[in-house]
């Protein structure tokens, strides 16, 4: 298959190998600090690619996408505290959480998608914000009915940094391969057509509604998976934290900065975001928005196609390489 020789796939494999090496080398004590950064970047790439499926590929900006990460974290809490309440940690616990987190996120997206995907533009964006809040307050309500005031701290599972790393790595590999396949397949072609002109796409034979629903569901499924390593790593389920609109903001920023409609854009965007975030990190992380905010405004006003899109336009010869 030609798909496997294309730059996006090669880039995915290279990324996977790099993070594999970091994971193995990170067993040595003095490299432990890198492990933390590597986990963060994997997660930010994962978030960016999850949203990319619906925002960057299909053109529907979901402003409440944190809801699916939150559902993943919630289901992890359910797995640890309710489904396997006295088990010591095993791989199967991670797998159950992953299936449950991704599955419930996908189900919610599928059900809600029937309604919200009939909306466009700002209406869709606002509906997704509404969804985020419904689930957030439902989570808080559920916890309070169980007599817990958030956050819900998990029992001690005695996990090491390495085990967190391999959880992130697992989800990272799945994300890259699934999203690349979506982008490069006929499905990705159809989504691109929807993004560019939905009516024309429908008339040309793209089952636009089904495709949008599939894209939204898959996008939620991946975001849901990312809630699982997050929850394990922080050993808690804090609704205000995981459902925070700021998480949606990060995903949107990554996609915008990197460039819509490409596979590499969100990945590049994730690194840029993470780099800026770290270099700007003041006493208070939120202060970094003083720089990120104007950055978004400038990009939208001057280079709306994002960094990768801009490179593609500026250097047509790179079009093929920067897919």
């Amino acid at each position: 298959m030609r798909m496997l020789k294309r730059p996006g796939f090669i880039a995915s494999i290279v990324l996977i190998l790099i993070y594999l090496v970091i994971g193995i080398a990170g067993q040595e004590g003095h490299l432990l600090s890198i492990i933390g950064n590597a986990m963060d970047t994997m997660m930010y790439i994962g978030w960016a690619l999850a949203l990319a499926v619906i925002m960057s590929y299909a053109g529907y900006v979901s402003f409440g996408h944190a809801v699916f990460v939150g559902i993943g974290a919630w289901m992890t809490a359910v797995t640890i505290e309710s489904i396997m309440p006295s088990h010591p940690f095993t791989i199967s616990m991670f797998i159950v959480a992953l299936l449950l987190g991704a599955g419930v996120a996908a189900l919610v997206a599928y059900a809600v998608g029937w309604v919200v995907l009939r909306l466009r533009g700002a209406y869709f964006a606002i509906a997704t914000i509404g969804l985020d809040y419904v689930v957030l307050y439902l989570a808080i309500y559920t916890l309070s009915r169980a007599g817990i005031s958030p956050p819900l701290l998990f029992r001690n599972l005695s996990l090491t940094v390495q085990s967190f790393y391999w959880m992130h790595f697992t989800v990272f590999v799945i994300t890259l391969l699934v999203v690349y396949y979506i982008k490069a397949s006929r499905f990705g072609f159809g989504l691109a057509a929807i993004r560019e002109d939905e009516e024309a796409a429908e008339v040309m034979g793209v089952d636009t509604f089904k495709y949008k629903l599939m894209a939204f569901t898959l996008s939620a499924l991946i975001a849901g998976m990312w809630g699982v390593p997050l929850a394990f790593r922080h050993a808690k389920f804090d609704p205000q934290d995981v459902f925070s609109l700021l998480n949606s903001v990060i995903m949107i920023v990554e996609n915008t900065v990197g460039g819509l409609g490409t596979f590499l854009g969100p990945i590049v965007g994730a690194y840029i975001y993470y780099g800026l975030y770290w270099s700007l990190l003041t006493k208070i992380a939120q202060a970094s928005f003083v720089v990120l905010g104007p950055l978004i405004v400038i990009i939208i006003a001057l280079v709306p196609e994002g960094l990768v899109g801009w490179l593609r336009e500026k250097f047509p010869r790179l079009r093929k390489a920067l897919e």
Partner: protein, 325 residues
Amino acid sequence: MVVTAAELARGFIEGLLYGSLLGAISVGLTLIWGVMKVVNLAHGHLIVLAAMFTANFYVLYKVALLNPMGAIITMGILGVVMGALLYYTSVHPIIGHVDVITLKHEMATLMATFGFGLTLFGLHYALAAWTSWYSTEPGISWSFGHPPYVMIGSTITIVKTKILVGIISFVIAFALFALVRLTNLGLMIQAVTQDSRALALVGIDPVRIKLLTTIISVAFAMSTGPLYLAWAGSVTPLKESIIAPLAFVIVVAGGLGSIMGSYVAGLILGLTYELVVATTQEVSIALVVTFLILLLILALKPTGLFGYLDDRLASALRRRRGVAE
């Protein structure tokens, strides 16, 4: 759990007052979104900015913004500056000279105003980090009279501040309605949506009108910041994530572009919220209900419920003044 009639009655009255505030918070948004098709995601941040500044400067210089009216006017004036800033950074570069606003433009202004709002959000933390006096969690208490509350019957007490907030909110919402529907300036603002080329022909610069619309929207939004502060007693930058979504719910429910429609939708939402709180004693479930209402309205009637209100009211008022239509 038994809910007493007194609690319900109190929920009802506070709901109307709170709804009035929510309505006032939303009217600026329905103007800029309805007229200019700019989905201003900085709206909530601008209101929070006004509330934060009011609280912080109140603490710093006790006199300057001592009374609510002074704060409302000061923030309205600051809103003029912020509106111009918002227009020239996040709106003009994208739709300044555009006649027909497509979905792509709409999404672009949405993203740009989102970036603008994020900047304001970060500003509070930056100010707090770099100065010694700026607080990201300022509190303030404005209370009036002795006693500072009103008794209704023998058990229901309503704080006077809340009553005042409810009344001033109505005045603000109605003032914007009058400005947009009953003045010549308002007619020009509305014309810009219909046909900006026709405007240009009669010698009115559409860009000027767009700038003005943005300024009016932001000035009215920011003038409600002190009201929110007075109601809640404290504010943090994170409150934006409650204010903005509520404003969006209200604007959609009220019928995009309809000022009094938004106000009425605000009343209903405030009422629903306070009544659910009064019956369940659970804030979280009240918020679940609020946002479920949003999803329902978007699903069933995305064109809103009260879009006709402005037209009806405007023609009724004009008739009373004896102006031929």
